[in-house]
């Protein structure tokens, strides 16, 4: 079931495999991604996906969770045992339990249906960039000033004292840890259930500053990079 994109992608374009049981979504996705310069293969079930994986190496898997027969979770777990190909899970369920389960199984990212197609593009780009730059594994801990952030446990310490952080604040610190001192664009810092977008980032950063900066209006560690985003000064 090879799709026939209107614009022929370049030969070195990233090759994606889309696994979804819904026929229309498959074709729509393949057209959409094809238009944005990806080579796309399709599979309607876990079994079909396995067949395609045997024959070819893919740069990224886009995997639907709820499929008749073998679920996306099972397939992801199975694939992870053999290969490190990046996996992006798609699901019509939004429970955070599901998301955690998917990420635990080794999925690289997770997107809930109905997703905004542009967000999907953004995430695909991010995953592929990460894979290509063969970046070092995220640091086990980062230090800035008197603080130590333990990435795995999501714990921020000042000396022996643990600083109480909400889950979102931990996520943001983890993003900074992964960036290794680079500037993080604002749209990467998302979250929140009400206001979406970049305002969320500003609010969260401000709150984080109030917790770690001596003078939140003149931040030392969490600096604003005008027009782009934020940067954490890591020692």
């Amino acid at each position: 079931m090879q799709a026939h994109p209107r614009t022929v992608p370049a030969d070195d374009a990233a090759h994606l495999l889309i696994v979804d049981d819904d026929n229309r979504i498959r074709t729509l996705l393949s057209r959409f991604l094809g238009e944005h310069g990806y080579r796309v293969s399709l599979a309607a079930s876990a079994a079909e996906a396995r067949g395609r994986l045997r024959g070819l190496d893919f740069d990224l898997l886009i995997l639907d969770v709820m499929m008749p027969g073998e679920s996306g979770f099972d397939l992801a777990q199975d694939i992870r045992q053999k290969s490190q190909v990046p996996i992006l899970m798609l699901t019509a369920r939004t429970d955070s339990d599901d998301r955690i389960h998917g990420l635990e199984l080794g999925a690289d990212d997770y997107l809930a249906k109905p997703f905004e197609p542009r967000e999907l593009l953004l995430r695909i780009n991010n995953i592929l960039k990460r894979g290509r730059s063969s970046e070092p594994a995220p640091l086990p801990e980062i230090r800035f000033g008197p603080y130590v952030f333990l990435t795995e446990r999501g714990e921020l310490k000042r000396g022996d004292e643990t600083v109480r952080l909400t889950d979102r604040e931990k996520q943001i610190l983890a993003i900074f840890a992964a960036s290794g001192g680079e500037t993080v664009p604002r749209h990467m810092i998302v979250g929140g259930d009400m206001g979406k977008g970049e305002r969320t980032a500003d609010v969260q950063i401000n709150r984080l500053r109030r917790k770690i900066e001596a003078d939140p209006s003149n931040p030392i560690y969490l600096q604003t990079v005008r027009g782009i985003g934020y940067r954490l000064l890591i020692d």
Binding site: F32, E35, R93, E116, P117, L165, T166, G195, R199
Partner: protein, 474 residues
């Protein structure tokens, strides 16, 4: 102190009662007194089933035992003392007869010896002299009464008796024809004073019986306590585990009925969960297609409108699903509510309001995390939508978690507040500026609060707008 208070209170009430009795018929004050007594009982008696049962069993038992003991001892003492007195007085009478009928040696030696050897009476014959004046008698002396009566009937001569002076002994003096006979005898010879054994037996056996009764009682009451615990936990939405009907038949019946009920509810929840999963999966799939199709068409004026419609439809779908789902399919876990409150403050800030938050008490509470967060998020979103300032405060004390969300918006008049909870209800005034409101936010929030065994109420806020108070047991 408390007793004195109660007493003054009671006497006040009684005096008011007496005044009332003059005006009304006689029955009314009786009923009122009964009410006061019942109220007092309710307030001061223990609340638990076990202590109550103990009191109900122990108090009548104690009363009955005491009454029985008293009556029995009274009777027993009387009989025994009379018998003993009869015997002693009989002996004294025969000694008197012997002294008066037969010639005696000058010192009455023989009769004294015989009396002390055979009758265990220490007697002495005194030269004639008037009897001493009667001693003050103890008020309630059984012995004194019995002895005097016997001497009067059997001997019929003037006598003097002293049952108090020497504690171990009783002294009796009797005026004979020529002399005065003094008899000193042991108390135990005339008086039944060994009955403490009976008391000891009674008390110890009733203690043993009481202990056994308490053991059995506890076993009877435990199933009721277990039933109450399970029902409470089920009411809070926690799963009921390892509960089996036990104990007396009535308790078993209640337990079995509870089990059937909880299973039925669980089954319904399960069916609803399956249906919701299906509906949400299918509708979301279609919405995904819409979005992809729109993305392929590209941006123009028509698609902008369509995109907004899809956005709205999506948020409505989420709200309806959340409303239908409630919190039935979530398992409670220990959550740091203080951090959740911080998150909510951040949400309110993100939505553009000036937000502040505070928290007091132990931060960790067992709740259905995402449901409870949805409940509070709905309240905070409402507050941020209608007010410029949002204040969130949490308090965890005495077994209750209270979260208060205040805003300085237009508020809701007191008479309309109940309406605000009705599903799909939308206010026509300033509260309905937002077109994406589904009229479900407060309904969902209240459902979730009630699902945790608590409630959500709306009040006036000190900030000038609306105050929403969520209160759940921990």
């Amino acid at each position: 102190m408390i007793l004195a208070e109660i007493r003054t209170k009671l006497s006040q009430r009684l005096s008011s009662l007496a005044a009332a009795a003059g005006r009304m018929n006689i029955l009314a004050p009786v009923i009122r007194f009964y009410r006061i007594f019942a109220q007092w009982l309710r307030r001061h008696m223990p609340k638990g089933l076990f202590p109550r049962t103990i009191l109900i069993i122990v108090i009548p038992m104690l009363l009955l035992q005491s009454l029985m003991a008293f009556l029995f001892m009274q009777k027993h003492w009387e009989t025994v003392t009379r018998r003993l007195s009869q015997a002693v007085v009989g002996e004294i009478a025969s000694v008197i007869s012997v002294i008066e009928a037969y010639p005696q040696d000058p010192d009455f030696e023989t009769i004294t010896r015989i009396a002390s050897q055979d009758l265990k009476l220490s007697i002495s014959v005194l030269p004639p002299s008037p009897l001493p004046s009667p001693r003050p008698k103890p008020f309630f002396s059984l012995l004194d009464r019995a002895l005097s009566e016997e001497i009067r009937t059997q001997i019929g001569r003037p006598f003097w008796i002293d049952t108090v002076g020497k504690s171990q002994f009783v002294e009796i003096r009797i005026q004979m024809k020529h002399n005065v006979l003094r008899v000193i005898t042991r108390r135990s010879q005339t008086y039944a004073s060994n009955s403490h054994i009976f008391l000891v037996w009674m008390v110890s056996t009733s203690l043993v019986l009481l202990g056994v009764a308490l053991l059995f009682l506890r076993n009877q009451i435990r199933p009721i306590q277990k039933l109450a615990d399970s029902m409470e936990s089920f009411g809070k939405g926690h799963p009921v585990e390892g509960f089996r009907p036990r104990g007396a038949e009535e308790v078993r019946r209640a337990s079995a009925a509870f089990q059937r009920m909880s299973r039925r509810i669980e089954r319904q929840i399960e069916q609803r969960t399956i249906m919701l999963a299906g509906v949400s999966h299918d509708l979301r799939t279609i919405l995904t297609r819409f979005r992809l199709e729109l993305a392929l068409i590209g941006d123009n004026e028509e698609t902008e409108g369509l995109k907004r419609d899809i956005e709205e439809m999506n948020s409505m779908l989420e709200a309806y699903l959340a409303f239908a789902r409630g919190d039935g399919d979530e398992i409670p876990s220990d959550i740091d509510i203080a951090l959740m409150v911080e998150d909510l403050e951040a949400d309110a800030e993100t939505a553009g309001a000036k937000a502040s938050s505070s928290y007091r008490g132990a931060p960790v509470v067992r709740v259905k995390a995402s449901a409870f967060r949805r409940c509070l998020t709905n309240l905070v979103a409402n507050a941020a939508r209608h007010g410029k300032c949002v204040e969130i405060s949490g308090r965890h004390e005495r077994g209750w978690l209270t979260i208060t969300v205040d805003d300085d918006g237009p508020g809701i008049p007191a008479e309309d507040r109940e309406d605000a909870f009705r599903p799909f209800h939308r206010f026509d005034d300033a509260r309905n500026l937002d077109s994406t409101g589904t009229g479900l936010g407060l309904t969902i929030a209240r459902d979730i609060a009630r699902g945790h065994g608590g409630d959500l109420v709306l009040e006036d806020s000190p900030l000038g707008g609306l105050r929403a108070v969520v209160r759940i047991p921990d």
